[in-house]
């Protein structure tokens, strides 16, 4: 794998160069209450690398909480005209993405390009370069190693930065897009160094996460298939408020709602907005019948979609183990705990 080295000051310099070239720069930055979230940066100093897991995931840069799809206007003779929303094509570079977030974006490419090609999604994907920062393992909710990933996974990243001490990073070039970024700003990069240090960092991080993460999720699929109505779901979901905070912060929860909103008489906009399977409204039919009519069914849906349904359809997990759902849940639901419980049940059943 092609690699290079970049210092912290050159990384700031790279952000400054990009901003000067009118490229949008995004990364972890502080919100008004001091919490870290992914934001567009106006200046390199706003980026706070490696200061915790940003509150919400990176997905909002590719699938915004709300976005217009097209506008309509009723013209002469009552003819309805459709005006397509321009495709988002502003070049952007994300600096300091968490590897679990970058991996989530790549996992979503599958569903976004399956029965039809989601144009806004892929327009943003093509215009955006993701520079991730290998993670040292954050807290006990991290479980990337349980879903076939790792704190230093390159999945979804164009460039992966690995700390090698002295404020420098070894930068692994993962994709052609990453190579183009390095080639466009040669003054910011130095010849590759610190291979051993990078390897040591990666190994330590993987061991740290694996030490507290639940057993691998892949082997749980047969048990889950055979125990759709297991009491586990009823017990686990008692504390769930159906609030959807888990889906809002998740890098891979991608369900959306489509709404038509009138703006003035005869004009309006069709938008798509984030939605979640954790509310009754998500599945209610026009007849009033609701196939997922209680919270146990909804919690089961979220877990099964992540580790059974999506993998069966697309060959990969719909969970990157980022731990956000556990951190955000006001009811104290904990995905690592649920998976460990399933693993224990599956182990006993075999």
């Amino acid at each position: 794998m092609n690699a290079t080295t970049i210092s912290s000051s050159d990384l700031s310099g790279l952000a400054a160069d990009l901003l000067a070239a009118r490229v949008r720069v995004a990364g972890p930055a502080r919100a008004s209450d001091g919490t870290v979230e992914y934001r567009h940066a106006g200046a390199p100093a706003e980026l706070v690398l490696d200061s915790g897991v940003p509150r919400r995931s990176l997905k909002e840069f590719f699938l915004p909480p709300t976005e217009p799809l097209f506008a309509w206007r009723t013209g002469a003779g009552g003819r309805v005209e459709l005006l397509e929303a321009p495709l988002p094509a502003d070049p952007a570079v994300v600096i300091g993405a968490r590897p679990c977030d970058a991996a989530g974006i790549e996992a979503l490419d599958k569903v976004m390009g399956w029965d039809y090609r989601d144009e806004p999604w892929f327009a943003r994907r093509e215009a955006t370069t993701i520079v991730s920062l290998a993670c040292a393992g954050f807290d006990r909710s991290c479980m990337c190693t349980s879903v076939g990933l790792a704190p230093d996974t390159t999945k979804g990243s164009d460039l992966l930065l690995v700390p090698i001490g002295g404020g420098a990073f070894r930068a692994e070039v993962v994709t052609a897009k990453g190579a183009r970024l390095v080639a466009a700003y040669p003054a910011r990069f130095r010849p590759a160094s610190g291979e051993a240090e990078a390897e040591a960092f990666r190994k330590a991080a993987r061991e740290k996460v694996a030490a507290s993460a639940p057993p691998a999720a892949d082997p749980l699929r047969p048990w889950l298939d055979a125990h759709f109505d297991h009491p586990l779901w009823r017990e686990a979901s008692l504390r769930c408020h159906g609030c959807g905070a888990c889906a809002a912060v998740c890098p891979t929860c991608h369900c959306f709602d489509i709404v038509d909103e009138p703006e003035t008489v005869g004009t309006g906009v069709r938008r798509r907005n984030w939605d979640t399977c954790q509310t009754p409204r998500f599945t209610i039919h026009a007849s009033g019948h609701n196939p997922k009519n209680d919270q146990p069914a909804r919690i089961r849906q979220r877990v099964l979609h992540k580790i059974v349904i999506y993998p069966k359809k697309f060959g990969e997990m719909l969970c990157t183990g980022c731990g956000r759902c556990s951190r955000a849940c006001p009811g104290g639901m904990d995905l690592p705990e649920v998976l460990a419980r399933i693993a224990a049940l599956a182990g006993g059943a075999q």
């Binding site: 709300t66 408020h241 905070a245 006001p330 009811g331």
Partner: protein, 290 residues
Amino acid sequence: MTELRELAKKLLAEGAAKVVIGWEEGPRGVRPAFATDAAAADRLVFDARCAHDLAPYLDRRRVHVAKLGRPAVVVKPCDARAVAGLIRETQVKREDVVLVGVRCGGVLADPEAGGTLSADTIADRCRTCDSRETALADHVVGTPVEPLAAPSRRDARVAELDAMTPAQRWAFWQGELARCTRCNACRQVCPLCYCDRCMADKTQPQWIESSPHGRGNLSWHLLRAIHLAGRCVDCGECERACPSGIPLGLITRKVASVVADRFGHKPGDDPAVPSPIGTWRSDDPQEFIL
């Protein structure tokens, strides 16, 4: 703790309750717990990390909780005010629930971080809460506690906002509300947001746009502020649940001060005292009616 656990076991053993809803140690600090047997009752805890309001679990829509049978709920004074609200508004019958009051000296602003309660670490809402134990309880446990004297940072912030020009205040709230994704977590965890069909979910006609753009978010937060006026019990759950870190407590606190000022009302734990939004008096202030 022993007192709470022994009481829970007694309630379960005597059949007074089929489930005791309290708190237990979870993977990330304490969390809501549903004890249906003695072993689970022995895991119940109460300390300054127990910030969660458990009253929302009495919501009739939570069928999977209701199926457990007659509940006993452990309530801090603020949670008892929430239960009082549910009784007042005929959502819960007093005789259908056993209330276990815990004497409370306040909870931590950051319950996950743990630590001891001090003037620095106490949650903002507890700095202005004046009840240490509730009268709305079948049993009261714990030792009496003295209130902690700590100035309310939230009140200071509300005063700062009040002192702003309308344009500055508008800019502040636009900035904050721009982060709202309309996940509805604030509503789902709110003990008093129990409406079967929330106004915000209505589509015929649609009063509140569901899109999280400036217009939709402003309508949503105005709607909720008004619907909770004089009903909000300051349990802090909406702000705690918001995954986007929106300072919803500033809204609820401001509205509460307006209700106190204009209607002389503060939501308490007596279900017999009507709330201003659910009642009408000929001497209600009405000079705003043109």
